[in-house]
């Protein structure tokens, strides 16, 4: 697993990453865009569709990483977020794990289009993840990790 430590975020730092990816980033939202950019480039190289590379992957991964940094680790720079990604002929799988106490995925998932939710500033992240990926899940006894799966077909 690659660990950049508490350095400044830079896309060049992650530029050599290729699938399978296993990296630990600090709990700093500035690291999100560089690593998402690299993952998207790798998805392009693996011939995922243009829309998936422009929309589904960057938005869903940004949501997962920001949830881990902001809600899981509360931006505590002594804590990290582990990100893993694999791809094969069947699917792209992204896993994001923080050092928090975890969350109840089903309980946190709300439809942002319902009355009252529409004008809320927050609460759309999980919904977008679930809308843009084929599967969003937590493993048993791993409530601090989320796995996003997008099938290639």
């Amino acid at each position: 697993m690659i660990d950049p430590g508490p350095s400044q975020p830079a896309e060049s730092w992650f530029g050599d990453l290729h699938f399978p990816i296993d990296v630990r980033i600090p709990s700093d939202v500035r690291f999100i865009e560089p690593i998402v950019g690299v993952v998207v480039r790798r998805c392009v190289e693996h011939a995922l569709s243009a829309k998936v590379c422009r929309l589904n992957v960057p938005v869903a991964l940004t949501e997962a990483l920001s949830n881990a940094i902001l809600r899981g680790n509360h931006e505590d720079l002594t804590k990290g977020v582990r990100f893993r990604a694999t791809i094969d002929d069947e699917a792209l799988v992204l896993e994001v794990e923080d050092e928090g106490s975890g969350f109840d995925l089903d309980a946190c998932l709300v439809d942002p289009g319902t009355e009252g939710s529409l004008v809320r500033e927050d609460g759309r992240g999980l919904f977008l993840m679930c809308s843009l990926m084929d599967r969003v899940e937590q493993l048993p006894a791993r409530a601090n990790m989320v796995r996003l799966t997008l099938h290639r077909a």
């Binding site: 999100i32 938005v59 942002p112 289009g113 500033e121 843009l132």
Partner: protein
């Protein structure tokens, strides 16, 4: 990645270049709030050069919309590509904003 602000008649046009995400949403919010403080009330957010938007970015737009409405102002969005329209449609925010 960044924001630019210009005047077009009585409208303040804010262009979003790159992503509008958790890492820069506060910058957009502050830029618009500064313009409100200067007396601007009509805003047009231009997404013609925008990559993608996350839920934090959408949330900031909702927040600014509420603030501007409280002041009897107007906030419109323009030049959303199909991907961005998809995000607004999924979250039903296409019903909240005027999208040109």
């Amino acid at each position: 990645m960044g924001f630019s602000v210009r005047k077009d008649g009585d409208t303040c046009v804010v262009a979003v270049e790159g992503q509008l995400i958790v890492g820069n949403r506060q910058e957009l919010k502050q830029r618009v709030l500064d313009e409100i403080e200067r007396g601007e009330r009509k805003f047009l957010v231009d997404f013609g050069r925008t990559g993608y938007i996350d839920s934090s970015g959408l949330g900031v737009l909702v927040s600014l919309s509420k603030r501007i409405r409280e002041l009897n102002g107007d906030l419109r969005l323009q030049n959303l590509n199909d991907d961005l329209k998809t995000l607004f449609e999924l979250t039903k925010l296409d019903t909240l904003f005027q999208i040109a």
